[in-house]
Amino acid sequence: MHQQDDQELVASWLEAHGDYLFRFALSRLAGDTEQARDMVQETLLAAWKGRKDFAGRSAVRTWLVGILKHKITDHIRLQIRSRQLREDVEGDPTSDWFGADGHWLEAPKAWRANPESLFEDSDFRRVLQRCLDALPALQRDVFTLRELGGEDSGTICNSCNITATHLHVLMHRARMALRSCLDLNWFGRSA
């Protein structure tokens, strides 16, 4: 009898909040659908295990999102550890874009585009996603968490175990690389 109720409880969470949690995870995991699905599953499982402590202090969705956020940062931190992702802060890959004198090797051209129409263009969003996917793993994870996840620097530094300076370097490199990738694969097309 009890078992039946418990199973129905989890199923009802999945029904009511599954898609929302999935989208939330997807945006913070650089569009990795399989990983996002697993995160939803882990979140519901953790929620079920902690169901007695919940006691309706907040909305169910808020509670579930809180659990999911922890799962995502844990996942990213683990990934960073297991792959031993350490980008050397000294060796600067942005050298690709600058000469020894610190001048641009190739002058950036101002994009003639309006952000609103770019955002609504599904072709552009696909190119942007490909450019994000092409970033080195740590840059991609940190940039996605910060820009699409909207996490603040302090949270990211803590959860990924990096210094603020390291975070700023990674964000800078990611912006340089994305600008270059979009130039090549989108804006350069009309030039």
Partner: protein, 92 residues
């Protein structure tokens, strides 16, 4: 006086932290005289704007959904665990 390389870094930092008055001044000065960095700054602004819109879409009314097979997979996996953990042994 900043080089383009330094200016591009400070430009990015401005999105991450509060610049010191000196950094802010140096960046302003560099952008005044450097059209290339102005173009870069312009492009970074567009990129940021698109990313903010993407973030808001996801948190608001995005359209991606769990696929039916994914949904069933999650349900099956959860049932296996929640059913098992609540006392009754699973049917052999």
């Amino acid at each position: 006086m900043y080089s383009c390389r330094q200016a591009s870094r400070i430009l990015s930092d401005a999105l991450e932290r509060r610049l010191t008055p000196m950094e802010w001044l140096n960046l302003r000065l560099h952008l005044t005289i450097c059209g290339m960095c102005r173009s870069y700054a312009h492009n970074v602004r567009i990129l940021e704007d698109v990313l903010v819109r993407l973030r808001q879409q996801v948190d608001g009314n995005g359209t991606q959904q769990l696929s039916v097979p994914d949904r069933e997979l999650i349900l099956r996996n959860l049932e296996a665990i929640t059913g098992h953990a609540s006392g009754e042994p699973p049917e052999a």
